[in-house]
Subunit: 221 residues, 2 copies
DNA sequence: CGTTGCATTGAAATCCCTCAAGCGAGGTGG
DNA sequence: CCACCTCGCTTGAGGGATTTCAATGCAACG
């Protein structure tokens, strides 16, 4: 997949300043930016200068192996914060799944905010800890679930996080889904087709899925 | 596997009070306890009353699926902290891999410490964030690596975290290794045998492995 | 010396991947 | 407006990595 590269230094001119509520009750000055489809937000090993919050659209964070194998570590939906690191550099890359708008906050600014504010620290910790919980759940999926179970869990999760008026609108490609679930695009496609044959889902378009199965809907709630 | 159950309320009598350095520079009053092989430290859904630090031995945290499939989320080595939750309950169970000694700190005591101390909060956040980093690395392994790569990565990791005088002393069973790597015991065993045939490792006993391969040793460092 | 638990090994089966082709929507240029 | 291309998705056939099932080995222990 072709990925455009974004260099923050060049684009600062196009920023719009704003106050971002990074976590519950923690407001910090930052600015917002838009990214187009597949545009790189930051890359692996890059200096972690900013913390990001999704205002609209979806972001994926990914890890690449030398031979091209890719694992999507997370999808970030509106309201989600990402890019906060312990060390000085990012440990994976982030790209816009579709066109999206982000709030950027300088790491140094965030540090200054939390320096004397335990409540702000608790809020930041909660963000990270909730992220950790999500990762742990996903590890069980990656390590111990079958392809069918993976896709079902994914649909249920997306249905909960990005509900459309009628069913789920999947913002990402089959390749993204596969790299998130540890599968191939073909397997994802086949399982969706089979679920449709069994009337457990219906498809308006390839990206718009309606959940019909009782169990799926329950898992989504 | 048979798992004994531990009920903290019954055992408080046997505790020894101590000051635990939960995170760098953060000392809190707690007490220490010992657990025997396969003894349950806490269970899924249980109230998260304590935070734990490994003093000696190894602990595994696991998630169980209804049909018995198991995923080991992490192994905790001496110095590691585990059991700290956002919500009121534990999200997985923890068991002693072998006989081990833990420091227990009441969650309420930790909360009181961090309440007015941003530095303590930063330390706690760092613990959680480093945990998150480890989980993210492990997700790539689970989702995108072959069985051979998984075992190699595991040996390298254990070699770095639990180095023996000569090679690696694996404290956990093949079942534990398999459930950590998303494989079966048979596959783990076969790959170790194959690595031995190729003189990439040597085995003193089934639990004591010596790394011979250049690449493995490099990965361990 | 039998039992028990853990580890290894083999043979067969299965799930998922790889390779390859076809399909359909959307965009571009003649 | 239609031919043509591209890109993402689907489908099929075959193969391979890993699991499953089953048996054996081996060390510790009573």
């Amino acid at each position: 997949m072709q990925v455009q590269v974004f260099n923050p230094a060049q684009v600062i001119a196009g920023r719009r300043t704003c106050m971002a509520e990074l976590a519950l009750g923690v407001f910090v000055p930052g600015f917002s930016m838009t990214f187009s489809r597949n545009e790189e937000i930051f890359g692996e090993e890059e200096a972690a200068e900013f913390v990001y919050k999704v205002l609209s659209g979806v972001v994926r964070t990914t890890r690449l192996l030398d031979d091209g194998r890719r694992q999507i570590v997370a999808f970030h939906m509106p309201g989600d914060v990402f890019g906060l690191e312990v060390g000085p550099t990012h440990r994976f890359s982030a790209e816009a799944v579709g066109c999206c708008e982000l709030a950027l906050v300088r790491r140094t600014v965030l540090d200054k905010t939390t320096q004397n504010d335990p409540a702000a620290w608790r809020a930041v910790w909660t963000l990270t800890a909730l992220d950790l919980e999500r990762m742990q759940d996903h590890m069980v999926l990656l390590g111990r679930k079958t392809a069918a179970e993976k896709v079902e869990a994914f649909l249920a999760d997306m249905s909960a996080r990005a509900p459309a008026s009628d069913g789920v609108e999947l913002p990402m490609s089959r390749t993204d889904i596969a790299d998130y679930l540890g599968l191939t695009i073909e397997t994802v496609s086949r399982i969706l087709s089979q679920m449709e044959r069994e009337h457990r889902i219906a498809r308006a378009t390839s990206r718009h899925v309606v959940l019909c199965d009782r169990r799926l809907l329950q898992a989504a709630a």
